[in-house]
Amino acid sequence: MLTLECPYCHVSADETELTPGYEAHLNRYGPGSTDDDFESYMFARKNPKGVHFERWRHAYGCGKWFLAARCTATLEVFGTYPAQTSGPPPGIIAAIRARRPGWTLT
């Protein structure tokens, strides 16, 4: 039963106040894109056992989508940040490295 802090209203929200949205930082591939690119966008999901970046919506709260860095093996949360970012911010990466020395962003 997760708790995640919403980076918009700073409520530390119960999992039941949130709706999950799977992998974060996807690039949308539209008309004209190659089959490979489209497949990677639609289906070929990152599914790591370890650090994972994912989308959540504070659906029963401020209604905002945000992103979380979470370990899928321990459910530790390294941090949450607004959805309007195209990649994990340095602060988050630092927080991850602090607890997962040697971890690198792939």
Binding site: L2, T19, S33, A59, W65
Partner: protein, 995 residues
């Protein structure tokens, strides 16, 4: 015999007697008794039958670890099977009945399994009942199933109510013994918000019974002082009768509070489920005594040593007059001493250890109790209750050296720390030789959301069995510091245990088949050894092969002994074999409690339109649409639903129909980039829609599949109002926000879901305009308000927005009015509509009429695999646009394939109605021998207007095959012939809606 002593019993109030019945017998106990202590007080030794062999079963324990004393508690709508007598507080009028026997507890035919026991070793059923094949289903399984289960299945709806509550704290302490109380006190004094849970009605745990001294003062006194001190701290909350049931990720803890179990029917909730978020958790859950594995250790009258003294000290009940103690550690001597001081006989203490030192044994000797060292029980005599024990050498194979008459046996194989809650969320264990048990490994705790240790363990739960250590560890745990038992050996109270896993050590097979590990599931030492021999070597295999530890006590008594026996059989050491997984709940939780308040009217939210109550009064037959309820039709007395639907359709087409369309989704989209945004969202172009006009359009998901449709109205320069399907409003609004927040966050667009702000009434039929004119206030003439336009104004004084749109093919207006006026407006329409034949209609009439017009319905024509192109809706897809959601998905080979099934109409040759879900047959069958098909029906109705069956469906190359006759399959066999037609059956040129 077991009986009530003339004095003693710290928990009972002898001045308030309570009447109860057991198997119909009327018995008496006292306020403060448990059902178990009251039964023992009435010499009710035999309390049940075991699962597999139907062996006689007696009470073994005094707490939640009890495997035998399970009762059908209560009757009728308050019947509760498998209720544990040892944790059931006695109340006046309680009725209990024993389980799993026929015809009676004393005489149970099931016991033949016992005589056949040799033929029924662990896993015997995997090896037999194989032939003849049919016999399993028809003969063997029915027999096995009939003998399955323990308690009675309730028949009636539960009479009680339940509820749930959330709690938050800095520190959650589970367990109200010395360690727990100390932890709470320390944290409370440090100003932390503390919640302490105790499963029993009493604080203090074992100490009070064991009569320890706690820094100088008697346990009882220390407990009183401590609870008083806690009472003065307003940041500390203590909840008794509340079991910590499960520990989950991120400090989430479930607790089960028994509010009215002991006062049934007093109107309070029977139980309350606590959902707790704790920053940190201390488990001070104590330890559970282990049985010893000797032949006949399951005969009623054989009990845990600590339980025996619990009954004597807490309830003034003696399980026997002559009690033999059998042990491998000092702690059991407390029982001998307690019995002696209660004036009862202890013929002998059978101690497997060769030398016995320590002060408890010294005290026993001083009391003149005989101690037989290096000795074991060879066999317990008696079948329905203990009559004596045969002794032998622990080192030997069981040759009897002596026999002792007795009517009870108190056994102690040592103590197993209650590590369940530590383990639920991944806490790891280490083996502690000093106490011969698993203890939490502070180095490998369950982790919290921030990676820190979520749980700390204190007291006996950490293998720290002395009160001094209990307090010390409670104190440090409160500060989040775990005490590593294994590294504190010198100071540690171990009871000088010498591990004994089978008794006697060299017991012959004959004896091992009589040594019970799991009393309830009838798992014996020989079964575990068989599993090991057969290669079920993983402890998880052994568990599943023998069912060891799978009973309602979840192996609280049996697991450690069981895996020790397994380890010996594999000659591995115990830690290497490891434990099975600890799963919640710690003790079983009533399902009603977990369902909480959500039953009956508040089982789920039921969404109601402002007109809902009118529908109810008018006898509407409802259908669920998402969480909404919508009238399916309004049957009149004597009418079938279908007749009602026909009437509603014909009346609407010929005169005037009113539909409550309030559930339609309404989303306002506004901003400089709103047009551009809607162009991406819909397949059509919205940015060019003139102000005041409406346009029907489609939405697809990124796969390209059709997900919703609706009419969009342009309100002003930068505002649009999007209608969605009834089910779709929230989904589509979330979908819009998703794209705006996560993909196009630099676009200037705001959305608002105003679905519930308005009641929406569809006024449909030739008389629609007449009605609006009768209401008065707006010019709704053909020229001022032509088809696919909207206008704001007032009708009969109500502020309205009128959309001139049609989903039925008739002249029709959809009128949005503020919800707070919805019902009044609806009534006004009915009133003013009388002269025009106004009649309400439901969703089914709506469906029929749209089908007659060949309009698609999301969820009927679409099923998540259909694209607009399949439905002849290419016209609603803009060719000009570079991109829209789903466009790329639709470029994929399978979606672009010209052979896809496409929308057409079907008319049966005989006028009948094609069955729902029928497929269009094609010759031959595929490589898997399945009949080939080339299409299917998607909507099929008897058309009242055309008085014949009409249908829409998908057919390969359908539009090119108009006129062709195809056949549909029928489940019963046979086929229906139908001609392929245009999907538009009625008013093909759309004149009626344009008048």
């Amino acid at each position: 015999m077991s009986t009530r002593l003339s004095r003693g019993g710290r928990l009972i109030d002898r001045t308030t007697a309570q009447e109860f019945t057991f198997n119909g017998k009327r018995l008496r106990g006292f306020q403060g008794d448990t059902l178990a202590s009251a039964l023992l007080a009435n010499d009710q030794m035999l309390v049940g039958r075991s699962f597999k062999y139907h062996r006689p079963r007696g009470i073994v324990a005094a707490g939640p670890e009890e495997p035998n004393a399970l009762m059908n508690l209560g009757t009728g709508d308050r019947l509760e099977p498998n209720q544990r007598a040892t944790t059931t507080e006695l109340f006046d009028g309680l009725t209990a009945a024993s389980q799993n026997h026929w015809p009676s507890l004393e005489f149970d035919v099931g016991v033949i399994n016992n005589y056949a026991a040799r033929l029924l070793p662990a896993g015997f059923y995997y090896k037999t009942f194989i032939h003849p094949r049919a016999a399993w289903k028809h003969v063997f399984e029915p027999i096995i199933r009939r003998s399955a289960g323990l308690g009675k299945a309730p028949k009636l709806r539960d009479a009680d109510r339940y509820e749930q509550a959330y709690a938050f704290c800095d520190l959650l302490v589970v367990g109200g013994g010395i360690a727990g109380l100390q932890a709470a006190l320390t944290a409370g004094r440090a100003g932390q918000r503390v919640l302490l849970l105790e499963q029993t009605p009493h604080l203090g745990g074992r100490a009070a019974v064991d009569g320890d001294l706690i820094d100088g003062q008697p346990a009882e006194a220390w407990i009183k002082a401590t609870t008083d001190a806690l009472a003065t701290l307003d940041t500390v909350t203590i909840r008794v009768r509340t079991t910590g049931a499960g520990v989950y990720d991120h400090g989430y803890v479930l607790a089960d509070e028994r509010v009215a179990d002991h006062t049934p029917g007093d109107g309070r909730p029977k139980q309350r489920l606590w959902r707790i978020r704790a920053a940190r958790i201390v488990t001070a859950t104590g330890a559970i005594e282990r049985p010893l594995a000797f032949a006949g250790n399951d005969v009623p009258g054989v009990m845990l040593a600590a339980a025996v003294r619990d009954y004597v000290t807490n309830y003034g009940v003696s399980p026997g007059d002559r009690t033999v103690i059998v042990t491998n550690n000092d702690d059991a001597y407390r029982t001998a001493i307690a019995l002696k001081s209660a004036g009862l006989e202890v013929p002998v203490i059978v101690d497997a250890r060769t030398e016995v030192t320590g002060d408890l044994p010294a005290q026993a000797r001083a009391l003149g109790i005989r101690i037989a060292t290096g000795t074991a029980i060879a066999k317990v005599q008696g079948s329905r209750r203990v009559t004596g024990v045969a002794l032998c050498l622990q080192a030997g194979e069981g040759a009897v050296t002596d026999e002792v008459a007795c009517d009870a046996v108190a056994m102690s194989g040592g103590w197993s720390p209650v590590v369940h809650l530590w383990s639920h969320c991944g806490g790891k264990l280490t083996w502690d030789d000093d106490i011969a048990g698993f203890v939490p490994d502070p180095a490998r705790p369950p982790v919290n959301h921030d990676g820190s240790a979520m749980v700390t363990v204190a007291g006996a739960a950490a293998g720290l069995f002395g009160t001094a250590e209990a307090r010390a560890s409670g104190e440090s745990a409160a500060m989040g510091v775990g005490t590593d038992g294994t590294r504190l050996a010198h100071a540690k109270h171990t009871g000088n245990i010498h591990p004994v896993w089978v008794m006697p050590q060299g017991a012959a097979p004959r004896l091992r088949t009589k040594m019970w590990l799991d009393y309830q599931n009838d798992v014996k030492v020989s079964d575990v050894q068989l599993a090991a021999r057969e290669g079920y070597e993983s402890v998880e295999h052994t568990k599943r092969y023998t069912t060891l530890g799978m009973a309602t006590d979840q192996g609280k008594l049996s697991n450690i002994n069981g895996l020790a026996v397994l380890a010996q059989a594999l000659n591995a050491d115990i830690p290497a074999v490891g434990t099975t997984t600890f799963r919640p709940p710690y003790t079983p939780v009533t399902i009603g409690t977990l369902a909480g308040e959500a039953r009956g009217d508040i089982f789920q939210p039921l969404r109601k339109t402002p007109i809902h109550e009118w529908h109810v009064k008018s006898g509407a037959y409802f259908e669920p649409v998402g969480l909404w309820r919508r009238p399916y039709c309004f049957p009149r007395p004597g009418e079938t639903h279908q007749q009602a639907v026909h009437r509603e359709v014909l009346n609407t087409r010929s005169a005037l129909g009113l539909l409550d369309a309030s559930t339609l989704g309404k989303i306002v989209v506004k901003g400089p980039d709103a047009g551009k945004f809607l162009d991406m969202l819909y397949t059509g172009v919205m940015s060019t829609l003139p102000i005041g006009k409406c346009r029907y359009s489609l939405m697809c998901n990124e796969q390209g599949f059709l997900s919703d449709d609706g009419v969009v109205a342009r309100i002003d320069e930068d505002t649009w109002l999007c209608h969605t399907t009834s089910g779709g409003a929230d989904r589509i609004h979330a979908w819009m926000e998703d794209w705006l927040q996560c993909e196009w966050w630099d676009w200037q667009v705001y959305t608002a879901n105003v679905t519930e702000q308005y009641a929406q009434v569809a006024v449909v039929g030739p008389n629609a305009r007449n009605l609006l004119q009768a209401l008065g206030g707006m010019d709704v003439s053909r020229d001022t308000l032509p088809f696919m336009q909207w206008a704001d104004g007032r009708l009969a004084g109500y502020p309205v927005r009128v959309y001139r749109i049609s989903f039925s093919g008739e002249l029709s207006y959809e009128i949005a009015v503020p919800a707070s006026h919805g019902l009044a407006f609806w009534n006004a329409c009915l009133e003013a509509g009388k002269p025009f034949g106004a009649m309400p209609y439901g969703t089914e009439a709506l469906h029929v009429m749209r089908a007659e017009k060949g309009f698609i319905m999301i969820g009927d024509e679409t099923d998540g695999t259909v694209i607009p192109q399949d439905l002849g809706l290419a016209w609603a897809i803009s060719k000009k646009k570079m991109d829209y959601l789903g466009k790329r998905g639709q470029e994929r080979s399978h979606l672009a394939n010209p052979d896809r099934w496409q929308l057409v109409g079907f008319e049966t040759l005989d006028g009948s109605v094609i069955p729902d879900g029928a497929y269009v047959l094609e010759d031959g069958s595929n490589a898997n021998g399945q009949r080939n098909v080339q299409g299917r029906v998607t909507s099929t109705y008897p058309s009242p207007t055309l008085s014949r069956g009409i249908a829409m469906g998908l057919l390969r190359h359908g539009p090119d095959r108009i006129g062709e006759v195809v056949s549909f399959n029928m489940v019963g066999g046979g086929t229906v012939q139908a001609r392929v037609t245009s999907p538009v059956f009625y008013d093909k040129d759309g004149e009626k809606q344009n008048v």
